[in-house]
């Protein structure tokens, strides 16, 4: 590998690194061949059903391990096959195995930062899950069967049977999910922790990760950078934690709380453990959703580079250096104030060529998403614990999505006073900086074609599309079905039907206000990227709920906005109408 190094590369030689390389090509085909052989062997073994004679006894049944071995070989084969598609075909290194030495780098570095990455929020959640699960095992036991059964999990200890008569101890529905989550997270943590060395030279950025003892190096030519985003407010797939933890916690509380003070119970061990487990899950939501790790994306014309990291020691110092290394001209670290209090405004490396963009409030305040989240969570809790308004499928979705919106809104819709800075340099470089207490979001476009402030509908993530469709469809469905079977001559039932309709109306109104009616965005266009960042327009620091009518009117008058708004309105109405029609028909088929 040593002969790859060409010190002091010029842009011409950088481009030369992207020329297909014969050795890489050979390597790719080697992986493909070995992978396909392993896949074929495993499939043949599975079809023939060769018994390797290895088995394990779980409970009362023996499980032959041969199929598991075949599956492992299959997955290994698939992984190797996938390498054919992921190994870069050129000399530029992307996740290439290298030695740890800085000598590996193509040029002499002028800036570097080393750090150890281990997510403390994930670690806290892991410890919480595992602690509760172990306590659950201790108090609820692993018993399976009736109180007379002893074969699996030992003797019954008087803490109840779950799921079905003679079923399992409450550990299985209550503690086991947390144990699985804790163990999975611990395994993930073990693989996700790494020593990192990020460096910069004249022409390259170097990202060197040492994961489970293996160093991987990725080089990014600086000339190719088109956009950089660095933040600790990105949630990504963390929505899955809400999908698991929120319904879990609510259901455990639904079953657990009524068990306190049962007439014949000698102890409240079971309800205490259920409540504790549910509260533990709720508590874990805080680090997992509200304290995401740092995340950066670097986009070039052709490639997208992403990484999660969580510097554990000297976190602010490491962030400072990463930010400088990535090319931002801002110090994200709040400066120390007396008695340890932090100053919330930002320091800038001011240059005479940089100017603030006008029309954007330096203080971001957007309450709509947080309010919608709170409403959904509240309605979900009402459904779950008071049997009010909406049933299970709705409340599970509403409470889950509501929690997610609360987290995302808190992370992305606010800044400190004067905490939002949008700047554009004379050379076209664009920079967006937002800081909210310890949360930050930085966006950098070294070269831009055009930067404007315009009204446009918010970008919908997959989770938004699924959740809104789910909530609107089920909300309308349940509301219509409720009206059909309600005897409206009975006031209580009539008021419940009216109340359900009103609550649904409020939810839809908030959805429309936040996701459909256009709001202010800074729109940055570079050679191949168009990126829109929601901002608070100057003078309206209280979010999209205010001036909703006038904003809707303005959107209608703008042909481009009207088309986008109409599309979303039509989709939303279609979901509602289909749900209503299906509900009306459902009773009669």
């Amino acid at each position: 590998m040593r002969d790859y190094i060409e010190k002091n590369s010029t842009p011409a030689t950088v481009d030369g690194l992207l020329v297909p390389d014969a050795r890489k090509k050979t390597l790719k085909y080697l992986f493909l061949s070995i992978g396909l052989v392993l896949v074929s062997v495993s499939v043949v073994l599975m079809i023939i059903g060769v018994d390797l004679g290895v088995s394990i006894t779980v409970g009362l049944s023996a499980f032959n391990l041969s199929p598991i071995l075949y599956f492992l070989v299959l997955f290994l084969g698939l992984w190797l096959t996938a390498k054919f598609f992921t190994i870069a075909p050129y000399q530029l290194r992307e996740n290439s195995l290298t030695r740890r030495s800085v000598d590996q780098y193509r040029e002499t570095v002028d800036r570097q930062v080393t750090f150890f990455s281990l997510s403390r929020s994930r670690l806290a959640a892991t410890l919480l899950f595992l602690t509760i699960a172990i306590v659950d095992i201790h108090f609820l036991t692993l018993h399976i069967g009736t109180p007379a059964d002893m074969e699996i999990g030992g003797a019954y200890n008087g803490t109840g049977t779950a799921v079905v008569l003679g079923g399992v101890s409450f550990f299985y529905p209550v503690g086991l999910p947390l144990l699985i989550a804790g163990v999975s997270l611990a395994i993930y943590l073990a693989f996700a922790r790494f020593y990192g060395r990020f460096a910069r030279s004249d022409n390259f950025l170097y990202f060197h990760e040492f994961r489970i003892g293996v160093p991987w190096l990725t080089e990014i030519p600086r000339a190719h950078l088109e956009a950089v985003r660095y933040q600790n407010t990105h949630l990504g797939p963390k929505v899955l934690w809400a999908c698991f933890l929120v319904p879990y916690a609510i259901m455990v509380l639904q079953y657990g709380i009524p068990l306190f003070n049962q007439p014949r119970a000698e102890t409240d061990t079971l309800p205490i453990m259920m409540t504790l487990s549910a509260l533990g899950a709720i508590l874990a939501i805080i680090p997992l959703l509200f304290w995401p790790q740092d995340y950066f994306e670097i986009a070039s014309k052709d490639m997208l580079y992403e990484m999660w990291l969580a510097p554990t020691m000297n976190m602010f110092g490491v962030r400072d250096q990463i930010i400088r290394l990535l090319g931002f001209s801002v110090l994200p670290r709040p400066e120390r104030k007396r008695r340890g209090l932090r100053r919330t405004s930002l320091s800038y490396e001011r240059t005479p060529t940089t100017s603030m963009m006008s029309g954007i409030s330096p203080t971001q305040r957007e309450f709509t998403q947080v309010l919608l989240g709170a409403i959904l969570l509240f309605v979900g809790i009402l459904g779950a614990f008071a049997n009010l308004f909406f049933g299970m499928l709705f409340w599970a979705g509403a409470a889950t999505y509501g929690t997610f919106l609360l987290a995302r809104g808190t992370l992305s819709d606010f800044s400190n006073r004067d905490g939002t800075k949008v700047t554009q340099a004379e050379d076209g470089a664009f920079q967006y900086v937002r800081r909210f207490f310890r949360k930050f979001q930085f966006v950098l476009f070294p070269k831009t074609n055009n930067v404007t402030v315009e009204n446009r509908a918010r970008k919908l993530e997959a989770v938004d599309i699924i959740a809104i469709a789910w909530i609107v469809a089920l909300g309308v469905y349940q509301t219509v079905l409720g009206w059909i079977i309600t005897d409206i001559t009975i006031p209580l039932l009539l008021w419940e039907a009216i109340g359900t309709t009103l609550v649904l109306g409020v939810i839809v109104l908030f959805v429309v206000a936040y996701f459909i009616v256009p709001s202010s965005h800074v729109v940055v266009k570079s050679a191949t990227i168009m990126h829109a960042i929601p901002v608070s327009p100057e003078g309206t620091a209280w979010g999209t709920l205010r001036h909703l009518k006038s904003r809707a009117k303005n959107a209608w008058q703008d042909p481009a906005s009207r088309k986008a708004v109409l599309f979303r309105v039509i989709v939303l109405m279609s979901i509602g109408i289909i749900a209503a029609v299906v509900a009306a028909i459902a009773l009669f088929v």
């Binding site: 990725t218 068990l259 049962q262 007439p263 459904g383 079905l481 409720g482 079977i485």
Partner: protein, 532 residues
């Protein structure tokens, strides 16, 4: 670092989602294979159609008057010999002298008493005023009292102010001689509460018990409207049960104050009829308490219970067939309790979509319940041939007479006397060949070992011999209720396990006959003198 080519983002994202979903896909595949095995193993029950012309007694040979006599005789014996503590129970007699010897143990006091009460309520509804009706009323009072005690004894009293724990059985100290087993140590046995602290209750109550109990309540509420005492005590029972379930989130409690596992919340979306029935009974009993009606509406519309209430799957055909019986109790109870014709029709239609499961089972109780549902429709719109189903029920009932199995005891039919399939020959002895096929899969292949726990631990009857033709009454074993037995497993080769041992006759209450019979009478399919 994650490195992706921007032009491939969609493909790579899709690949990542796919990889992320792999565990769920694998689990889904595993469950799918289990579903396939189940579907394959149950397929036999759809293939061997009932053949009335070949297998049923001609309709004109079935004597309605004789059926009526049998029903009356069995009700009389129920009153005289099977309700010593107002709960139905099997009884043992001396085979030589005919004298009473003992009462049997039972784990299903609530279930069979509820079923017997339902049968008696239907009988009451068709009897003209007179001594027979008075006798029927007295028996109903006995059974209702017994069922009330199943709530009263474990909780210390009857009414909404007491907890709602339901017992399987009970015994007072005075009954110790006849029910000594209730005073033995057993994880199901506990003392009563408050004034009943010296009584014994059998707990760890299953859904079987709750299902039968709810049917009894629904039938009494529907058919015995003219008896203030019955309606009064029913209100107390229903309120106690409903409030109890609301207080425990529909979990049935065990004697140690913890859930026993039986619960009425739908599991994976099925079984929504349970909560509906509890709340409908309460709403009917307390029309001024609008909270019950509100909750019923909530369950029906907001929890979408009405969409799949009264539906079922066919896995119980393979194992735990008894689940169909108490499941049907709830199905029938809900249809009786529902007074909104649109909702009732919805529940019937839901049920009808699943009825094909039992179409060839020759199960007189299930068939009778379907007939009852169809009779409750304002317009006859049955998807199945009702006259054929009625004939099926009548043929099975007639076999009680043809095999001299009245009363239902071990001296006439049943143990040692039942018709066995081998002697019947022909297609009676055809065994479903797919059982051997899957036996080989579970125990002859490596991948099958990953599914072996299903027949070994989950559905232990999965690989048990099943004949493809449903049994006739004379092939069944003497038992509390024939119709909770798997008709494809009854082979007539019974060994004669009789309570008390040799020289004894074990007699069960006649509910196996009376329950389907009185359905036919109450819903106008037959009369005391006419079956056609």
């Amino acid at each position: 670092m994650r490195v992706r080519r921007r032009s491939h983002l969609r493909v790579k994202n899709a690949a990542i989602v796919f990889v992320g979903l792999l565990p769920m896909i694998a689990l889904g595949g595993y469950v799918g294979i289990i579903g396939y095995i189940g579907a394959d193993l149950t397929s036999f029950s759809y293939e061997m159609k009932v053949n009335p012309e070949a297998d049923f007694a001609p309709l004109d040979s079935i004597n309605a008057t004789r059926l009526d006599e049998i029903a009356d005789r069995l009700e009389w014996r129920m009153d005289a010999w099977h309700t010593p503590i107002n709960l139905t129970i099997g009884t043992t007699f001396n085979a030589t002298t005919g004298e009473w010897v003992s009462y049997d143990n039972t784990d299903n006091g609530a279930l069979w008493t509820g079923t017997a009460l339902a049968a008696e309520c239907m009988r009451y509804s068709v009897l003209a005023d007179g001594q027979a009706k008075l006798n029927s009323s007295a028996l109903i009072h006995k059974l209702v009292s017994g069922m009330a005690n199943l709530l009263r004894i474990p909780n210390g009293g009857l009414g909404p102010e007491y907890p709602g724990m339901l017992a399987r059985f009970y015994a007072s100290p005075e009954m110790r001689a006849n029910f000594s087993w209730m005073f033995n140590d057993n994880f199901k046995h506990f003392n009563g509460t408050g004034p009943y602290s010296q009584w014994r209750v059998r707990l760890y109550t299953s859904k079987d018990e709750i299902g039968g109990y709810l049917l009894g309540l629904a039938a009494a509420q529907y058919f015995i409207k003219d008896d203030p005492w019955v309606q009064g005590i029913l209100k107390l029972m229903i309120a106690q049960l409903a409030n109890g379930f609301l207080a425990t989130f529909y979990q049935e409690m065990h004697g140690d104050g913890t859930p026993c596992g039986a619960q009425l919340n739908p599991l994976f979306g099925s079984g929504t009829e349970w909560k509906l029935l509890v709340m409908k009974l309460a709403a009917n009993a307390f029309p001024d308490n609008l909270e019950y009606q509100r909750l019923y509406n909530y369950y029906a519309a907001k929890e979408l219970a009405l969409l799949n209430a009264n539906t079922n799957g066919d896995f119980n055909t393979l194992d735990q067939y008894y689940g169909y019986n108490f499941g049907h109790d709830v199905v029938f109870g809900l249809v009786l309790a529902e007074n909104n014709s649109v909702l009732r029709e919805k529940y019937i239609r839901n049920y009808e979509k699943c009825y094909r499961i039992w179409e060839n089972h020759r199960n007189a109780w299930i068939n009778a319940i379907y007939l009852a549902m169809c009779a409750l429709r304002p317009v006859n719109q049955a998807a199945y041939n009702l006259p054929r189903i009625k004939w099926d029920v009548l043929d099975q009932l007639w076999w009680f007479n043809r095999s001299n199995w009245v009363p239902i005891d071990t001296s006439y039919g049943g143990d040692g006397h039942a018709t066995n399939r081998i002697s019947a020959g022909g297609d009676w002895v055809t065994v479903d060949p797919k059982i051997a096929k899957w036996q080989n899969f579970f125990y002859g292949t490596a991948i099958g070992s990953w599914f072996r726990w299903i027949p070994e631990q989950l559905f232990k009857g999965l690989l048990t011999t099943r004949y493809v033709k449903a049994a006739r009454v004379d092939m069944y074993e003497v038992t509390s209720f024939l119709w909770d037995r798997n008709p494809f497993m009854e082979d007539g080769l019974h060994t004669g396990n009789v309570y008390g041992g040799p020289g004894k006759i074990d007699e069960h209450s006649g509910t196996s006959f009376t329950a389907p019979y009185w359905v036919l009478r109450a819903f106008g399919y037959i009369t005391a003198t006419e079956v056609s």
